[in-house]
Symmetry: C2
Subunit: 336 residues, 2 copies
Amino acid sequence: MLKGHRTWIFDQKPKIISTGTVGGPFEAEGMLADDFDYLHSDLWLKQDSYEKAHRVMLEEACEKAINKGDLEKEKIQLFLAGDLINQITPTSFAAETLGAPYFGLFGACSTSMEGLALAAYIVNTKGANYILTGASSHNSAVEKQFRYPTEYGGQKPPTAQWTVTGAGVAIVSDHGKGPSITSATLGRVVNMGLSDPFNMGGAMAPAAVDTIETHLKERGIDPSYYDLIATGDLGHIGREVSFDLLKKHGVAIDEKKYQDCGLMIYREKQPVFAGASGTGCSAVVTYGHLLNRMKKGEIKRMLVVATGALLSPLTVQQNETIPCIAHAVSIENEDV
Amino acid sequence: MLKGHRTWIFDQKPKIISTGTVGGPFEAEGMLADDFDYLHSDLWLKQDSYEKAHRVMLEEACEKAINKGDLEKEKIQLFLAGDLINQITPTSFAAETLGAPYFGLFGACSTSMEGLALAAYIVNTKGANYILTGASSHNSAVEKQFRYPTEYGGQKPPTAQWTVTGAGVAIVSDHGKGPSITSATLGRVVNMGLSDPFNMGGAMAPAAVDTIETHLKERGIDPSYYDLIATGDLGHIGREVSFDLLKKHGVAIDEKKYQDCGLMIYREKQPVFAGASGTGCSAVVTYGHLLNRMKKGEIKRMLVVATGALLSPLTVQQNETIPCIAHAVSIENEDV
């Protein structure tokens, strides 16, 4: 089960039996529009606040996953989820609608894999038969909270990232069909002393490297074991920094097989600075696009390394550095 | 392992082998001063912000627990913790200091038992040998964030509660001595439509009742099985409402054995309105006072039901109701 200090091996091969992914209008113009279950043309989702829109998006993703999995919501024994909004209220309200037992998580943009690792662990050890896990973010709700009202038209440097409007969830079960979750390596906080909230990719890169190296070492495998190592969300800068760091540390990864969720979701012409980010980003890319690629047989084994910058507007104002973390989960499709 | 829909039975009897509890000057004047490992006379802990003081307090509690457990910090395989501050930054910074793998949790004042339930589950199923889990809050950091600057002298109604300044953590292990964690019942969100942030006890009471009833039913036990059912933190109003509700539902609990962490920590003369609350409250009361009572043989079996009001200042401003949750963990001392 536990291998080394930080890696769990899931010998019972819990499966992702269903997923739900919902996005907004900006995501509808992106590269992965076809991979969403539902895309909204209205950023408000007919609600009177962005936070309510955020909640509705997550509720829809949960409902989609439950319906696609041909389940009733009463079957769900645990909901493991979180978001970026203060006190993760959109997720807690969605938990109320779902009605399942609920553990709120906070891992910023690493939440997707914090939840998937825990879900796989608990299903693997028979603590639940069906766990719903996921993460979500809403661009405007996050901008309002972390930065300035968008109406101010504040300028951003090219190192900034664009928060995804999206909710991605998965149902993990010991019953049914789907790709297996085979292992997880738990992240620890890595803080290299960077403090620029407009360069989170650069800040998070060392955390991703720490987790990837630990994962390969503790599992005793080579990077070539995976068809894809997908970080999320480092953007252009963080991806480059982390790739260089890995190379320096002697971890030889084929550059084509080392990709970032934050660089997959939008088109080049979309003005997203260094790439996408947000709690929902790695969730929708993994549970939508990457699992679809698995279904098509394009990927057999992948490692998703969700990275989180655990800052807040207050820690930025107080001149704190940015504590970062990355959790890695390996998903393998044995049917292909 | 899983019993019913929401209860985990821990057949391997993971143990609480060590604890750390730190409090502030107001707690030093309270009823449980002798149960803290360390009490600060300075609310600032010599830091230049309340949030930094909050972080230091949690770091001290972790260090205390590790030292008392005669461990090195490198032995800790997982840190499961959270607090009330936006993006739980004090906990994330403490996780950096600790250096262990880290899953951030958010369950407001239910976080203590969210963490203990998960820690016990993971140790029980051999996913880790040593997990450090806990919760903390700092009165002034919370007041600043959730209410008004204290300098305004804003008036509060008698239904309000007083946020504890304290950090309480426990080390859960399959090695060593200490009381056993025997089961946990996971909470689901219960929202009766109350929206007054100055009466969280009343709002949370139905969530506590839901979890207690489910726990007794799924474990197939009578309330008299426990020497103590300790809710945390309902305060006077929530305790009374929940006790009446349980009685109405036919759950006969001896009133002396139904107590609230929020009513234990301070003296009657301390001006805490309806009682204490805050993420740290049930953590310090459980890991300090209640475990000390267990050691003395005064309690053999107890159920700690940590309750959380999953609101935020923004949801209050947006006229939302308060989603509430309660997680229950049973701790039994078989050596007494």
